[in-house]
Symmetry: C2
Subunit: 188 residues, 2 copies
DNA sequence: CATTTGACGATACAATATAACATATCATCG
DNA sequence: CGATGATATGTTATATTGTATCGTCAAATG
């Protein structure tokens, strides 16, 4: 919940080269990939959007828009709700993040960042944003993104059977993750 | 969106026998089934809850909590947000309705009402509320509930594979329903 | 260079949901 | 019957999430 613990890199270099906040190297690397991804889509990952995505990458958990706003304000004075929602809308449209509807919260999409596959085509010529599947642990609040072909196939099949032309699917599976279930078992 | 059109039954009998609003016969019948269902679960479908469920059954579309509140006020002076949310929570817990997360709106669960199967068991001894799958048409806003065994099986399988103990799943499929797709085709 | 377009600042507001506490209703038991 | 506890509802206020709108600025485009 609170601020993250001390980080293992040199904080003095954080604001060295640019006017924008510097995240740890691993995050900066992912952000660079995101920048490339955007260029290829003819879009721009502006400094503001980069910061918002960076904050999400740093968080172990899904972040609400107002969580993000609070954090963003430490980097970007004067940020207001529309500031955050615009960045989120942009990132959502490109598939760089997902919204977890049940939590009204957002997570970065590592699949897009790591495999650079933003857009998918399911049917004849129909393009459709990759929409993942999420395991939501109610103990530790962590969210794991799956990309299970079986689930997707079942959903596409059921939609077709109903004559429904699907463009997006929201799959949110709630329960207890392996780690928390293990811990509970150990306690008993 | 607006108030429903004139109804084909005798409005004079609406408040005859009881102090609670009377819905058309088909709805009253479903409400009676809901009452029975609750008794079997040792719960009570109070007049307030019955009215809320009735309003939802009368609506062709998902209703937001504040839509319900507005309607409820015509039947139940002094209703406030908590009035509605409490009724919704009750109905959700019993599986008599579902929440469509993407719409922040609610629909009655006809599966529960028509088949009286509220609780399911997926794994060894673990009970779990029936959680349906929803086709959401972005043209006409209608929502169709599926209960596709293939989707459920795929989700259960993927959860197990990840060591995740699922208790509830939210499946919301957005797109264009057969009727609206047909209409669009006709226009072209 | 003028124009257009997209991004951002800033204020206000709308829509959704809950906290907290008071009151009422009802069943049960002594 | 009257006390007691549990459940349901009334009431007010507030928290949380999300948009509308309008103005400004800066980069891209012709």
């Amino acid at each position: 919940m609170g601020t993250p613990p001390a980080l293992a890199y040199d904080a003095a270099r954080m604001t060295a080269a640019t006017d924008t906040h510097r995240f740890p190297p691993r995050t900066e690397h992912l952000l660079d990939r995101a920048t490339d991804f955007c260029s290829r889509e003819n879009m721009k990952l502006t400094s503001l959007r980069r910061q918002v995505l960076g904050l999400m990458l740093e968080s172990a958990r899904p972040m609400g828009a107002y969580d993000l706003l609070e954090q963003l304000r430490t980097l970007h004075e004067g940020a207001a709700p529309p500031t955050v929602y615009r960045a989120l809308d942009f990132l959502l449209e490109l598939g760089l993040i997902h919204k977890i509807e049940r939590l009204s919260a957002f997570v970065p999409c590592l699949h897009t960042l790591e495999h650079d596959h933003g857009l998918h085509a399911h049917e004849e010529g129909e393009e459709c944003l990759h929409s993942g599947q999420f395991l939501i642990c109610r103990e530790c609040s962590q969210v794991t993104e799956l990309e299970d072909a079986g689930i997707l196939a079942a959903i596409v099949a059921a939609s077709r059977k109903a004559g429904f032309r699907m463009t997006h699917s929201t799959i949110e599976i709630e329960g207890v993750c392996a780690r928390c279930a293990g811990a509970a078992h150990a306690r008993a």
